[in-house]
């Protein structure tokens, strides 16, 4: 194998596939990156067996040559060293050549590295996925779907299924739900394509986070293929495979209250900043709990009290308060996470009592909701 490649393209691809590579793997060859050179271009693969990423660098793009293939072939190089080398090479052009016995030479300018490679034949095959059932989502929408839900997955392995995001496709609508059982994030999106099929799967939160990091904010579409135990995201020159979580995701539909006893409408940013300030001292205490009280005339009071440090009280003039008077305490962190995930300048918060979940939505937008369980104070 021998090819000459533009360093920035190589670096971008290496950094993308590195997202899947981990040093903690039971399969030693997975600490490496597989490099395959064909007449069409160069393909890099990284995997930790849960996530696999394949990045393709075409021979040329928009009439500019990126790679010059001298001799097709394949090799696996230690990911940690290879990525550091590529990052620090002195010139914009890199030559990679496999000599005998898997010895790989990386040349750039006047520097030359000799790296021991591994046999590419021994690298596990990526899952074979038939692309019969497929639906598409613009990249920027996909990133929003991930950003607005994935933060709410559970970080504890007590209920492994909750470490993933539940993706449901039905009647050309995609619904993403994540919950760690203390808060829940839900986002819906209409799919452009017809006959999208019906799915109900759970994608590990970590996979979606890594996917989101690799994707640029463009409106290019991503094709999504879901099988029984894998999901594949296909972008231009990029394949992202993830294992699905096994087990049934709890039915959250019935857990989201659809009536309310107190409704607040307020400005998102103003409310977020008030909660942030109220949590300033609470954060240092054990719980980071803030309290919200409603008053006549649309006044909301946000406060916190950490006996050993101090207390904060702040009043906000809301757009409106309807229904019963309310005093409720909740985690400032969950509230700030939820508010940051919402788009829109005004939010509506619907409460059904001090010990029941409450729902936050952008005003006049049903495609997204954040649900938070309050904390009980004694």
């Amino acid at each position: 194998m021998k090819f000459i490649i533009q360093r920035d393209h190589l670096l971008q691809s290496v950094q993308d596939v590195m997202k899947a590579v981990t040093s903690r793997t039971t399969i030693p060859i997975l600490t490496g990156i597989k490099i395959v050179a064909t007449e069409e271009g160069v393909t890099l693969t990284g995997s930790d067996s849960d996530i696999s990423i394949e990045s393709f660098i075409p021979k040329e793009e928009d009439g500019t040559e990126i790679v010059e293939i001298r001799k097709p072939g394949a090799i696996v190089l230690q990911a940690r060293f290879f990525s550091d080398i590529v990052k620090k090479l002195p010139t914009d052009i890199v030559e990679i050549e496999v000599e005998n016995h898997l010895q790989t030479v990386i040349r750039s300018g006047k520097s030359e590295f000799n790296l021991n490679g591994l046999d590419a034949e021994e690298y596990p095959h990526l899952p074979q996925i038939s692309e019969e059932n497929m639906f598409s989502v613009p990249t920027d929408l996909l990133k929003a779907l991930i950003r607005q839900t994935v933060f709410a997955v559970s970080t504890s392995e007590t209920r492994p299924i909750l470490t993933g995001v539940n993706w449901k496709v039905e009647n050309s609508e995609l619904t993403c739900i994540a919950t760690d059982s203390h808060r829940l994030a839900l986002r819906k999106a209409r799919l452009a394509s017809e006959n999208t099929g019906t799915y109900n799967v759970v994608i590990p939160g970590k996979s979606l986070t890594e996917l989101s990091k690799i994707l640029d904010d463009t409106s290019d579409v991503i094709d999504i293929v879901i099988t029984e135990n894998q999901v594949l995201f296909k972008a231009k020159h990029l394949l992202f495979f993830s294992r699905l979580l096994e087990g049934n995701y709890p039915d959250t539909g019935r857990l989201i209250p659809n009536e309310s006893k107190t409704e607040i409408v307020t400005l998102t940013k103003e409310f977020l900043q008030a909660v942030d300030r109220a949590s300033l001292l609470a954060r240092e205490g054990r719980n980071n709990v803030v309290k919200l009280s409603t008053f006549d005339g649309g006044v909301i009071e946000v406060s916190s009290n950490t006996p050993e440090i101090g207390k904060v009280i702040e009043e906000i003039q809301s757009q409106s308060i309807e229904g019963e008077e309310l005093k409720i305490s909740f985690s400032a962190k969950y509230m700030m996470d939820a508010l940051k995930a919402l788009e829109g300048t005004e939010i509506q918060v619907s409460f059904t009592g001090a010990m029941r979940p409450f729902v936050i939505r952008p005003l006049h937008d049903d495609s997204i909701l954040q649900l938070i369980l309050p904390v009980r104070t004694y």
Partner: protein, 433 residues
């Protein structure tokens, strides 16, 4: 200094209480750390990089410019462009605070920390150390010498007056407030100046024509009770210079853990038997926690094997625990994870990160909140009653169970039988009152 003489400087009946209040504590600690900051306007604020941060505390130099606690940073900067802004270093403050309380304890065992930067000392029996004023001066000097921190001290016959007194001269003041001074010193002040009267209460008092502490002291009891509930009567008492609260060194702010352990009659390696013992220990810990009215955020275990090798392991919990079942579940889980299967000689269960019941919270769970929500109407009724008649009027019956259990032969990590006695005395006193 002859102690016989000194005794004459103390009241024959009644108490002498100091209230020690550290002056702009966080800012002063920073100045002690970095003397270059002294004499400069300094503010401690969350998120100094962000415009929306707020002032947590500030130095007296900054106060001269009108900078105040909870003021947004941008506003403070406008008032005082040279303001130095620092992030809080809570570890430093905690260390300074604990040294400060250690100094106070050298004059009397009866030290009650109220918060990180203030506390009461009952020096009624401290005459060997000098007259009350001499002790106050000595405390102030030692805190300044050892920690380079200023404080103000109030000297009075009870907690309320001591607190009011320490507020009168800042920084580095010592103020004596006797009961006979109350009409002259306190009564002309606005009611809002009174400790225990907030903005809301002051507004309410205003509606019945009470503007000063003096007017509150002479207000009609029925009217006060109708307006503020039981708290109204209490405030009137205070306005007259009366406060019966004692200085309680066992107030929760200070104690750190409750643990019970037991040496087994023989070495045991049967898991079921060991689990049973853990359950029993958990029950004892739960009973002691109930007496102190605390909940725990951290549960630990101690295992001593027959070769005397001892391990302790603990776990921070998402939600606080309080009852036998919760503590034993957490302790058994820890045991299951860390027991190596060898014969065990001693077992212990410890609850740490203790919080007063009232300040504890429970994060509700989407899949189980209904259980808590069921109790919501009761919860509401209780908090309404408390608002009307004071905190102690109603408690769940659980608080009164097991108060009579005798301390057994098990080793107690924390000698709380003193506390028990105190509580008994307290109950008896309550009945007499």
């Amino acid at each position: 200094m002859g102690s016989v003489n000194m005794k004459e400087m103390y009241p024959k009946n009644g108490h002498v209480i100091l209230h020690v209040d550290m002056n702009s504590f966080y800012a002063s600690v920073e100045m002690a750390y970095d003397p270059a900051l002294k004499g400069k306007p300094l503010a401690i604020a969350g998120n100094p990089e962000e415009r929306r941060g707020i002032i947590v505390t500030c130095s007296y130099e900054a106060r001269k410019f009108g900078v105040k606690t909870t003021m947004p940073l941008w506003e403070a900067k406008k008032l005082c462009p040279d303001l130095i802004i620092m992030r809080p270093n809570f570890d430093r403050y905690r260390t300074a605070s604990s040294v400060m309380f250690d100094i106070l304890r050298q004059y009397s065992e009866l030290v009650e920390p109220v918060s990180i930067d203030e506390g009461y000392v009952d020096i009624t029996d401290s005459y060997p150390y000098g007259s009350p004023i001499e002790i106050a001066k000595s405390v102030q000097e030692r805190i300044l010498d050892q920690l380079d921190l200023p404080c103000s001290i109030g000297v009075a016959p009870n907690k309320f007056l001591a607190k009011m007194a320490s507020d009168m001269k800042k920084p580095m003041g010592i103020t004596i407030l006797r009961k006979r001074d109350v009409p002259i010193v306190l009564w002309p002040l606005d009611a809002e100046e009174m400790h225990g009267v907030g903005k809301k209460t002051a507004e309410k008092l205003n509606t019945i024509g009470i503007k000063t502490i003096g007017e509150l002291a002479n207000a009609e009891e029925m009217q006060l009770k109708a307006l503020l509930g039981i708290n109204g009567i209490r405030l009137k008492e205070r306005a007259n210079g009366n406060d019966k609260r004692t200085v309680d060194p066992d107030s929760v702010y200070d104690f750190k853990s409750i643990g019970n352990s037991t040496t087994l009659p023989r070495d045991v390696s049967n898991q079921r038997e060991l689990y049973e013992i853990i359950g029993k220990l958990a029950g004892q810990v739960a009973a002691r926690m109930r007496r102190k009215k605390v909940v725990a955020a951290n549960i630990g275990i101690t295992i001593r094997y027959k070769d005397r090798k001892t391990i302790t392991r603990s776990k921070k919990l998402l939600n606080t625990v309080r009852n036998e079942k919760e503590i034993s579940v957490a302790a058994r889980e820890l045991f299951g994870k860390h027991w190596n299967g060898d014969s065990v000689r001693l077992l212990g269960v410890t609850a740490t990160d203790l919080l007063v019941e009232d300040s504890a919270v429970k994060q509700l769970d989407l899949f189980s909140y209904e259980e808590d929500a069921k109790k919501e109407p009761l919860h509401n009724t209780m908090s309404k009653l408390r608002e009307k008649y004071g905190t102690n009027i109603i408690e769940s019956a659980g608080g009164y169970l097991n108060q009579q259990t005798k301390p057994g032969n098990d080793t107690s990590f924390n000698k709380d039988f003193l506390h028990q006695k105190k509580q008994r005395d307290h109950l008896e006193k309550k009945q007499k009152d």
